[in-house]
Amino acid sequence: MGSDAVGEIVRHYWAARLVKDGVDVGVMTFFDGPMVDGVILDRSPRWQALVGGEISARAILHGDHLPVEVDGTFLRNIRPTTKANYEYLVSHAAYSTAHAPTNPDAAPKDAVDFMKFTPF
């Protein structure tokens, strides 16, 4: 749970928040060549984190598989999760961004405003 191996690459899955009282976003960490626009470049491997629905991974500046400090963003309330939940978080955020912009996970960088959010 919390990690799998694709080929020889081990991937770790996390749920984290980008702001206080924000929604959970899926985070995947892996040790591989840099991922740019969804493509793994043929460079030396390093620990990287793919945050939410991003297609370019961010370098992990502090920590290894655990993204203590990630380049260009601040992850808070980091908890290990399953691959299924990670995929659910990412795909649900993508759906909300495309089709339901009032859902909180369409704006993960904003705290959830329960005066605007209607779950049903």
Partner: protein
């Protein structure tokens, strides 16, 4: 420019200030009302029951949204009401500031008047009690006198009857000789005795009536002596103010242990505090209170 001039008072506000306030609030807090409609709109989209984790999470979010709305609405209400409360406090303070000194003076004068009227009522009660005692004494004497007169009348009647009996016996001895004469004398004697008896009966009845009348007077005086304090102390000023002693009943608890159960109440707040104090960090409670069932209650909490 229009020839039609607006009538006098056309620019006055609505007559009902409450309606105007409702209108203003609805206009000012339009978004809050829209949010209320949004939240209530969830009801028709709710699933029949909660069957999985996804629905549970949504329900928790929905509950939190409702809680947030309620808090927001309450905060808005408090803020909106505050000027009115402040105005109300100002009005209260203004009038209380004027009426309180007057009330204090009224209380002071009331205490003086109460002391005086209590004294008047006591004096009047003592006077009526003295009158009642005197009338009771007179009635008792009259009753004794009537009894004595009745006794004298009864003895006189009995003496008369004895005399008549003796006379009858003497007459019987001479019956043959003077029957006709005796019969006439007998009739006359009976008439005289009846007349004498009537006089005696009338005297006794008169004595009884007088005694009864005296007793009634004594009873009236007795009722007066037990009259209400208000009646005994009532006074009326020339300006029409009526002052009287009012008696109401008050109490203070001297010994709670002696008070019957029907006048006691259960202190629910104290029980809640005791339960809270007896609950362990792992959420167990073994507190026992006779007559009280202490049980765990489960409910969802959304934070």
């Amino acid at each position: 420019m229009s020839d039609i001039l607006p009538s006098v008072g056309h620019n006055q506000g609505p007559e009902d200030p409450a309606a105007a306030l409702r209108e203003r609030l609805a206009e000012k807090h339009e978004k809050l009302l829209e949010r209320k409609d949004e939240l209530l709109g969830m009801e028709e989209r709710l699933p029949a029951s909660c069957t999985d984790e996804d629905i549970a999470a949504k329900l928790a979010d929905a509950i939190k949204a409702c809680t947030t709305f309620t808090k927001n609405s309450e905060a808005t209400r408090t803020a909106e009401k505050e000027p009115f409360l402040a105005a109300g406090r100002t009005v209260d303070g203004f009038f209380k500031g004027h009426s309180d000194p007057v009330d204090r003076l009224k209380t002071k004068m009331g205490a003086m008047l109460t002391a005086y009227q209590r004294e008047v009522a006591d004096k009047e009660r003592r006077r009526l009690e003295a009158i009642a005692a005197e009338e009771r004494r007179v009635a008792k004497e009259a009753e004794a006198r009537a009894r004595e007169e009745a006794r004298v009348a009864r003895e006189a009647r009995e003496a008369e009857e004895r005399r008549q009996e003796e006379a009858r016996k003497a007459a019987a001895a001479l019956e043959g000789k003077r029957r006709a004469e005796a019969e006439a004398a007998e009739r006359k004697r009976q008439e005289d005795a009846a007349a004498a008896q009537k006089v005696l009966d009338d005297a006794a009845a008169a004595a009884r009536d007088k005694a009864r009348e005296t007793k009634q007077d004594a009873n009236v005086a007795k009722v007066d002596a037990g009259a209400k304090a208000a009646d005994l102390s009532r006074s009326r000023s020339t300006a029409g103010s009526v002052a009287s002693l009012r008696v109401t009943w008050d109490f203070e608890v001297k010994d709670e242990a002696l008070v019957p159960r029907q006048y006691l109440g259960v202190k629910e707040a104290a029980i809640r505090v005791a339960i809270k104090a007896a609950t362990t960090p792992d959420n167990k409670c073994t507190l026992k209170i006779p007559g009280v069932k202490i049980f765990p209650k489960e409910e969802s909490i959304v934070r």
